[in-house]
Symmetry: D2
Subunit: 315 residues, 4 copies
């Protein structure tokens, strides 16, 4: 990731602010506020604003439950209780805003999370940077044979090299032709003074999906956790997981108690179906239970065994 | 409005915070942060947190439009442009949180605005305060004769007194019976040690709709303006307008430039239909136009004339 | 529940429709379309429109996953897979609309589900019916001693009678005074021709929270299941559960395969935290594990044992 | 647009359905149900399901306003009233579902409308069709000189040809390399039996933004109108306007009365600011008013004059 001089200057200015406020602050998050945390080859995330902290969750819960919450003596106990019982509204009382630079094909996954506010760089108005994502060789994996949406073995050296050459060659060529159609280079200079350029809103269609875009993305704590739960999961595509993992770190700095409960109950937790509950119960009680009398399909059975690390029962 | 000693102490503590932050701050809003601004007889609003200011709107717009926005030289010019052309997403980049005490029948109108986060005091968990709304005599109006949802003339002294007596008597009686059913008084004391009380989630159904409740209500700047546009309007019921008016003041302190544009383009503005446009155009050009050849109903015609203050053309 | 003659006539007319359509239909749901299913003493739910069925869920999933879904040979297998892995968007492709009559204090819980469309009867425009909820004696429970929001033992005969007398007396009195203030009776007749009535938007504040209101409520299948999961749960207040239970029946008639998967994976299922997983795994493997070395609080431990029906391990 | 044999067969089957229903139907919409209406060179829209019609809007409004709406005698009068006064919830009571095939760069604009349900074809699971958008020469316009996001003059023959050659060449090359990386052709055949292909979730990043994708898109009538108001507007990019225009036709067939009111009050209407109102009023009254004493910027003044067709007052 290489920031422009202009961007570096803007970040420095933002970080030099020393404002006084009566609002609650999250000291650990303040330390990295505005920092550009590198992701992939040209991307980044930056926390650019936030509202509330762990005490805001607690305060809202105590308004809801009134004197009823006095019994739960600690903030930590209350937050764990709220998380365990899927109380949602107290976690909506905190808000965070990120500035994100990311490849377009990842932006298309990300935007499916609708309960968020977004301002994306518009290629109707302005010219996109000449930056596109090229995976590191260790992330160039073959299509999984067992999983329609997953990755299998890493490609060998020669094959990987060929893929990278194709990706790089095509991205450069399509970007160069983008400039040619615009009759303008990224730095703003005109290519041919005697000619006119195609409208930006049209020329952009020539770019490949690994071109980087950027946006401001703002959401509340509940929806951030919903996002992270799905996107920091091992089923998620590596490229979006890279962003989610970095955001998990910011979550920890922002609301450490909520983070703890989130890792225990959501990220590390699992769901068990009605049928699955009976099976686990029988296993615990030493009763005779196998896939044959379980009522589960082979797939369901194995998913259950895997999620409880009962590897010798996988069939 | 009378705050309890406990509430006054909490507000004092919140206001005595002096935190440092690198976030942008809204100095005028900081001055009234946590203050309880009285509304109606027992209600209040308090701004308890916020995120962003006018520059956050500008910053997001500039990310979207990139170098395209450099032409609009001032923040004020850009915000006015965004408001005029109904750009919405930059205004979603700011967030505000209120603590509100309000009668239940007003809460029921308010909650219809769905794009907001809410934590309401729960009468399943806790006992509601003995506080209910009684209108001032000047707000005790008869049903409008022309408008199904509006108010007409103010009630005369005797009639007003009778109404207030009924409202007060019924609210007190139902609250007392609420305590009786709970076998508990608001201060927590048990009424009859040898008896048990009805479940709180049931007893509450005996309360009247003017009983006060309270909640934390959080929304973004765009949806706050949508709320205020409808609820500070003269068609809105007086009791919710009283809250909206006080919130307009907080909007002004928070984002003064956005406030200015909002008052000009939304609150003070109007919509004109396709047919209405033709009529106004003809009036300006001195052409012959009257309700008969306008294609409008009498009601539409008059609404148009009223909104442009053309009172002598009302029929 | 007593429908007015007018309502009965409207329902008959709606049910006599015999339209042809190329849309998919849900034959079992068609049978009860528009029927008023009684809930509580004066409430009802009616399915008044719907869109899509189980095949719509499948069709959308197959568009998303393309040829990738061909392996899952049956609709039922695919729907179970989607439910198990928390795929959400295919379930958003079906829509249902209910007409509901319900007490105001229940409406206030219900409306917290924001992802739905609502048209409620407006007491600013019109006069509310003289109908209020009075619980059956078997639902008149004392406040739970262990659970701040729950119910305990059923009240004895004398106490129950007293509560009912209070509820009934107060509801009738406040309704009568509502009419007095309006100077109008529900049937539309004026009480005193020489007097004027208070504005409806004000008079309504005198009503108690067990007064019935009604609304049209429309949501998609995913959000309907989110609603039912919370409101058909045994933690939900009985009065809203009565509605949710009836709606579960309509779900079964509408989308029987989805219903099946929903009951297995959501309603009957449970979540297990990261710590809980380790404990269950150890129990299954016969390892030494008790609350002391579990890292769980007593409350967490017991909740885990209860949800797996391991009653002899509760402490 | 060329549908595959498989698609044509599916459409025929869907259209041959003759189901009976007690639901309301929209006869004109039924006639074109499932039809693929061609848009651009390879795109289409198809209405694949709907719920409700004009009478559903009316019915919901009448539930809200109760006896209060009896005065408005006709459905048409009531719908016009609702539209004029920005009543929103009755229009949320109807729902429609489209199947859309569209270029990715248009999908990225479209998805910004968040209050909708979407199931998109997933290029993680399946291989995208070899179809990409190439504009007709008459739509190949130069960048506007006055408007940062608009189009100016049409490109001349030579220049247009060069642009089309570049777009076509790059799209074909990147698609071919996509197949090479996948080691698979669109028809499913393997290219090199002795090799493995790159994971689909990675290979897709090589495609250009004019590649076609497809989705199911479902929304309610209110949000459909919000979408159409913005996207059928002359400020919208031609390529999305082409979709919006075709959808306007389906709106007309579905809810003809609502369509009429929508065209008059929204599409053909305009907003006037507080300052603008005073200016129009003065113009009507023949008072002296010009840009100099108007308080408007040149831009605002001209926008006002243009929207009222007062062309000789533009400066």
């Amino acid at each position: 990731m290489k920031l422009t001089e202009e961007q570096n200057k803007e970040i420095k200015e933002q970080q030099s602010q020393q404002n006084k406020t009566k609002r609650v602050t999250a000291p650990e998050l303040e330390k990295i506020l505005y920092d550009a945390i590198p992701i992939l080859d040209h991307g980044f995330i930056r926390v650019v604003d936030y509202m509330g902290d762990d005490t805001s969750v607690v305060q809202s819960a105590r308004v809801s439950y009134g004197k009823g919450t006095k019994k739960v003596s600690t903030d930590s106990g209350l937050i764990k209780y709220l998380m365990r019982h899927w109380h949602s509204t107290p976690f909506e009382m905190c808000e965070i805003k990120y500035h994100v630079k990311l490849p377009i094909f990842i932006a298309r996954q990300w935007i499916r999370h609708r309960t968020a506010n977004v301002n994306e760089y518009s290629a109707r108005y302005s010219i996109l940077d000449k930056e596109f994502y090229l995976p590191e060789p260790k992330h160039l994996a073959a299509q999984s044979k067992s999983n329609r949406q997953g990755r299998g073995d890493i490609l060998e050296g020669e094959k990987a090299k060929k893929v990278l050459d194709l990706l790089k060659g095509d991205a450069e060529q399509t970007y160069n032709n983008y400039e040619t159609m615009l009759n303008q280079r990224y730095d703003g200079s005109t290519i041919d003074e005697n000619s006119v350029g195609l409208a930006r809103e049209l020329a952009r269609m020539n770019l490949t999906l690994n071109t980087y875009t950027q946006w401001y993305w703002k959401t509340d704590l509940l929806n951030l956790m919903n996002f992270l739960r799905l996107r920091a999961d091992h089923h998620a595509q590596y490229e979006i997981r890279a962003y989610a993992d970095a955001m998990l770190d910011t979550l920890k700095k922002w609301v450490p108690i909520t983070y703890e409960a989130f890792m225990d109950y959501r990220v590390g937790g699992t769901e068990v179906s009605a049928k699955g509950k009976v099976i686990l119960q029988k296993l615990i009680n030493g009763e005779d239970i196998s896939i044959d009398n379980s009522g589960l399909s082979k797939r369901e059975w194995n998913e259950l065994m895997i999620s409880f690390n009962l590897n010798d029962r996988i069939i």
